[in-house]
Subunit: 367 residues, 2 copies
């Protein structure tokens, strides 16, 4: 692997000092910001995540704040998910699409109040789209990137660690809900959410200066819980079927292709951009879809480009994320497969950089 060249353009986070002190070995870049990818090793980090508790610097999940009388109207324009049932205190996973129904991002929307929202974004400058729409429609709303940096606490001991720092009430926060908690006089929005299926929370830190004090408090409180610095883990996220925008889907794909049709209430999401295109897609159904695929043989190489998927010599899809899973004793991967071959149990071939491999299409992810 090559080195990453530091520059101001690849932004550091409020937690970077802690991440470096913890011995980060590799990064990716996400929303023009450093996102750690490896501490001890991907496999050791994975094992630890499934057994203990980790603190993740996910400040790169930047927030877009919508504020003003048209905030809710604008939020509904952005997504085919019907937001009318949503109350302040809730988080919704929302596909964001352009006018043709192509995915621009797959963020979590955080409803702070009727006139104030955060959009916790995946890796694309969604801010530019939101600002463009707000400007083009002359909406009465402020749109910007506030000084808010999420810090995730993930793993089976998350509740215990969080209760020690924020009090037992944090245990009562339900999945995809959030509450307000105090840390040394600072208001912290804390949601039960995160990019793993091992349980945990995301703390929306609203002032960069509080970043390292909070980081240190979590490590101090969790010493006997074996707390460690961690990061979204490639193995765990593929086992769990957590999609990654830019890896597993791009603006070429509709939400329906990405298995996100259940988050599209296109008929009732009145005013959403892309509605005409998505009503058509919903009627006909997608012709390709995200599927878990197990790949036979030894550990696959790093997947840094689409790997074509074939059946009977014809191309029927592609794999976009793949790795060896120690717990399931197979190579796990995420593919986009044509409808002719997406049924569970279908045998296909995946062209990896070190040769063709036999593989099987599944319906359910592993975790």
């Amino acid at each position: 692997m090559a080195l990453i060249s530091p520059s101001r353009r690849l932004r550091r986070t409020p937690f970077s000092n802690g991440v470096e002190h913890a011995g980060v070995k590799a990064y990716t870049v996400y929303n023009h910001m450093l996102l750690p990818t490896v501490f001890e090793s991907v496999e050791a980090d994975y094992r630890h995540l499934k057994e203990h508790v980790q603190v993740w610097d996910v400040a790169c999940e930047r927030q877009i704040e919508l504020r003003g009388p048209d905030a809710t109207r604008l939020m509904q324009m952005l997504t085919p998910r019907d937001l009318r049932p949503m109350l302040p205190g809730q988080c919704y996973y929302v596909p964001i699409v352009d006018e043709t129904g192509g995915m621009l991002n797959d963020p979590v929307a955080v409803k702070l109040s009727e006139d104030r929202w955060w959009i916790s974004i995946a890796d694309s400058d969604l801010l530019y789209w939101v600002k463009g729409i707000a400007y083009g429609y002359r909406l009465d709303v402020l749109v910007d990137e506030p000084d808010v940096s999420p810090l995730a606490v993930q793993g089976p001991k998350s509740d215990e660690l969080m209760a020690r720092v924020f009090g037992d009430a944090v245990r009562d926060v339900r999945f995809f809900r959030f509450g307000h908690f105090d840390f040394e006089g600072h208001d912290m929005v804390i949601a039960r959410s995160g990019y793993s299926k091992q349980g945990g929370f995301e703390i929306y830190v609203q002032d960069s200066a509080v970043g390292m004090p909070l980081w240190d408090a979590l490590f101090k409180a969790g010493e006997d819980l074996n707390v460690r610095a961690g990061c979204p883990n490639l193995i765990e996220r593929i086992e769990s079927g957590l999609l990654s925008y830019g890896n597993d889907m791009t603006d070429d794909n509709t939400p329906h292709e990405c298995g996100l049709g259940k988050f599209c209430n296109t008929h009732t999401a009145i005013g959403c951009i892309g509605r005409d295109a998505l009503l058509r897609v919903a009627k006909e159904g997608p012709i390709q879809q995200i599927r878990p695929i197990s790949i036979e043989g030894d550990r696959v190489p790093l997947c840094d480009r689409f790997w074509p998927v074939y059946a009977d010599g014809k191309r029927v899809g592609r794999v976009s994320s793949a790795t060896w899973s120690p717990d399931f004793n197979t190579n796990v991967s995420i593919g986009m497969i044509r409808m002719t071959h997406w049924d569970a149990g279908t045998r296909v071939e995946v062209e990896t950089p070190d040769g063709m491999r036999s593989a099987t299409v599944h319906e359910q992810f592993w975790n």
Copy 2:
């Protein structure tokens, strides 16, 4: 330095195989794509760039294509530079601003014809802004990212190398103009431009499959010219005052602050977004501006965050890019300095990670 974790999300380019074969040592990420930063060493690459000729994989300068009857109207909405004098065959450096005059990108606009433009972008998803504006205004224009990947040829022997591959006519292409040339039956748009002041060209390769054949042809033709793989060079670009979006300026800054007031014809650029705000700025002038700053003492450390600049104990600006210059025997840097201290010769202090340094504000960059 840490490693970079490969993934499909950090896109490879049509030239990545060539870059790897040439022994790339480090990358940055730019527009979700790999951009090489070091081959032999930053200093050896610099010396070679100034004496010979290099081939640069700058595919990460992604293109936004505007096509249709409203293409020119949309292009003018995006920038305060007056585009009326611009003819097909010309390239313009164009600040792109939001409604408050904040910089969203600083691309090169390439006018292919009255109804077809490319915008060769710096590091932000400008596509989202352009699509949002086109949609919000219901413009009659197609906006997308085509399969176009720039390959740069830079250095004093560029004309000679290019003439060997494309014929002597390429020598007649004037600065910031382009022409159409043939390579093995493929139309190549070739401009005299590039992100160095050592002279050279950018070839807009319109089909990924032609990438490696062209790369190989350039290396074969240039063997006796000592052609090498290169990349935008940190030392040379600071010496030359070539700004980097995300490093030296962000959406907090107006073009006037960035020294790009000369590219703003805000009075006559009728219809441009941000006009109201920029007319105000043009009237009052900016209160801070980009300046070259020489920093005394030994080689400065890597600049990966803003370094505060002080005078008489008060903060008067920040440095965003800095490095040691062998040719000018000083640390060269790019700063943003308040008007009270921006006059040439002003003495200031820069707070680097290894201590306070004496420094001097200049008016002209070094190259």
